[in-house]
Amino acid sequence: MSLLEINNLKVFAEDKEIVRGLSLTVKPGEVHVIMGQNGSGKSTLLNALAGHPKYRAEGSVKFDGKDLLAQKPHERARAGVFLAFQHPNEVSGVTLSSFLRRAYVARNGREASVAEFEKILVEKMRMLGMEHSFAERGVNEGFSGGEKKRSEILQLAVLEPRLAMLDELDSGLDVDALAKIAETLSMIRKPDTAVIIVTHYARILKNLKADRVHVMRDGQIVASGDGRLAVQLEENGYGWINSATAAP
């Protein structure tokens, strides 16, 4: 059974249609990479799936058989949808650990004592090779680009979502940092966690095995294939897709 089933999804920002009739099916444990140029609608897609209030969505999206679009952002998160943000917000004065504990409690639907949560957090941070002092800083407060990414990955590791969506994971990272993040991602991911990665560049596929690669343009998926599609894109550029066959 599929985890996520998108049918003819349209996403509007005010009156502008950004995602224009997109369909996509993701099964548990699958890794999907959505590639596309700036403005193709790929980030909007992820934000709309997470429930960003800026966007209005039409069409059908089923997550685990339930209507996703009818749910509020926090309900989607509790059901297991996770978005790693490209530009996560600062929440000044709130420590990453206290924020994450609240999120953990919400996601799991049961209380966790400070001590109990601390144990989980310490273990995840150790796995990610992170200093514990990192969790005592304000959420994204004064974080470098790389630290923000690592914070997002840590959140993913702690919350153990069923669908992890990563928005421009590779932006602002050098090759080594990207490899490290990709390696971390493979390490923390449960076998049945589905992943959607949105990216401008194919280079992440060197570090991460994708089950499906999609190309987005003008709010639609114009080509789908396996990992070889990304290689072709890398070699030939997005212009090449114009003449290729669209097969979502």
Partner: protein, 474 residues
């Protein structure tokens, strides 16, 4: 403090019918409403005061009559001095309870719900409770009084320590001529704290007092006088609450603090009056050489508040720190800030003001920073941040800076922000519900000040703020 009590005191939704007189724990009260010269004399008479204090009251009243209301600041036109009941002595006060058990039971219940004197046992050096005009209960740990510390109510201090009171009371710090409400206070003052810390004594734990205004349409004018002698250290905390009746009440306190050479004083105040209280206070400290004065405040309740704690840095190397949180909701105006006068070289100051407005509330930071021409090596930093929860509310910053010294290092930062949709989305996208997300943002915003509060107060402050923010998510 439990939720039920928070709901009982100071919440709009619980506007209460005025109870029967018999339920108000009145021992003695002014026969008529109205702040008149007759009442001034009556108060002095009832208290059996010495002649010098009676004269002080009469002189203050004359000044009060001549002074106009402030020409700036919030609208005070609805404030009716003739409707205010200026003196209400609680039942049981004459007996001067020596132990908590002797306090009349329903008054005791009120305070016990607020955690007094339970808190005393845990983390305080001394505790006091004022009900309407007078202090009902005051205690000081024996080991602290053995050090020569005096902590008593102001009325007792007039009788028992006249030489100290005469020397400091409403003279060089806040004279009745300072402003109309200080003059009013000088005429009608009753209750409050007198705290004297001898040279070199470091009081290890805070002293606390709780002020309760219970009588409808009442005016509370408690006087606080703190003297921290050379090299001493002390922390004083006050909490305020009142049930919400239909009649407007007023509160015009005066706080005078003398921080002598190398002494260190911290004054913390958490104000949660009901929302029909006019809260018009004058609080000031005179800070001597190498001494430190810290003001920590949270003003949550009351309708109109005018409060600008003032530090006068008269000694070389003196330092002041002012931390304030102000929250204004529907019908509330918080005109608050800080005044700092650098009158000596190498003095330094820091102001951090955090204000939150929502549901049509107005927050206004108003401050004065003065540096005298001969004061070299002065450092001062002002930071005012506001957040606005919705489009009906407003935040303003009115800083006045009068810097006459050439080498003063002055920093000023101000920010006004809306709680952004993006920020709330980020938190909710992790499973945190919208109410909690908003509370988190606000908690984070005030955290730099809350972390300066003793734990019990920090918890209470966060809880009060969360209650205030409930229902603010669109």
């Amino acid at each position: 403090m439990d939720e039920a009590v928070l709901k009982e005191y100071g919440r709009d939704a619980l506007l209460r019918e005025e109870p029967e007189e018999s339920q108000l724990n009145v021992g003695y009260r002014a026969e008529h409403a109205g702040l008149t010269i007759e009442l001034v004399k009556e108060i002095s008479e009832v208290k059996g005061e010495p002649e010098w204090m009676r004269k002080h009251r009469v002189k203050s009243f004359e000044i009060f009559e001549k002074k106009p209301l402030p020409a700036w600041g919030p609208d005070l036109s609805r404030l009716d001095f003739s409707a205010i009941v200026g003196f209400v002595r609680p039942r049981g006060q004459e007996a001067k309870p020596n132990s908590w058990e002797e306090v009349p039971s329903d008054i005791k219940n009120t305070f016990e719900k607020l955690g007094i004197p339970e808190a005393e046992r845990k983390f305080l050096a001394g505790v006091g409770a004022q009900y309407d005009s007078e202090v009902l209960y005051k205690s000081l740990r024996k080991d602290i009084s053995d050090l020569g510390v005096i902590y008593t109510d102001m009325d007792s201090a007039v009788r028992e320590h006249p030489e100290l009171v005469k020397k400091y009371f409403m003279d060089r710090c806040v004279p009745p001529t300072d402003n109309k409400f200080a003059a009013l206070h000088g005429a009608f003052w009753s209750g409050g704290s007198f705290l004297y810390v001898p040279a070199g004594v470091k009081v290890p734990m805070p002293l606390q007092i709780y002020f309760m205004m219970n009588y409808p349409g009442f005016g509370q004018f408690e006087h606080t006088l703190i003297i921290a002698e050379e090299g001493s250290q002390v922390q004083y905390i006050e909490g305020c609450s009142a049930p919400h009746y239909t009649k407007d009440s007023m509160h015009a306190a005066v706080v005078e603090i003398f921080v002598q050479k190398r002494a260190r004083a911290r004054y913390t105040s958490i104000q949660n009056w009901s929302k029909n209280v006019y809260n018009l206070n004058t609080k000031r400290a005179i800070v001597q050489e190498d001494a430190v004065m810290e003001w920590v405040g949270g003003t949550l309740g009351s309708g109109v508040t005018m409060l600008y704690p003032c530090s006068i840095l008269n000694g070389r190397g003196a330092r002041a720190e002012h931390l304030n949180i102000a929250l204004a909701g529907e019908g509330q105006v918080k005109d608050t800030g800080a005044k700092i006068y650098h009158n000596a070289p190498n003095t330094s100051s820091k102001i951090v003001s955090k204000s939150i407005c929502k549901e049509g509330g107005t927050v206004r930071y108003r401050g004065i920073l003065f540096v005298g021409a001969h004061c070299t090596g002065v450092k001062a930093n002002v930071r005012c941040d506001s957040i606005i929860a919705d489009s009906r509310s407003s935040a303003e910053t009115i800083p006045i800076m009068d810097i006459r010294a050439k080498d003063a290092v002055i920093g000023h930062e101000a920010s006004v922000g809306r709680i952004s949709e993006e920020q709330l989305f980020y938190l909710t996208s992790r499973g945190i519900d919208p109410e909690e997300a908003l509370a988190m943002v606000v908690r984070g915003f005030i955290e730099p000040i809350v972390k300066e509060l003793p734990l019990e107060y920090a918890v209470e402050m966060n809880r009060l703020i969360e209650m205030e923010m409930e229902g603010s998510v669109g």
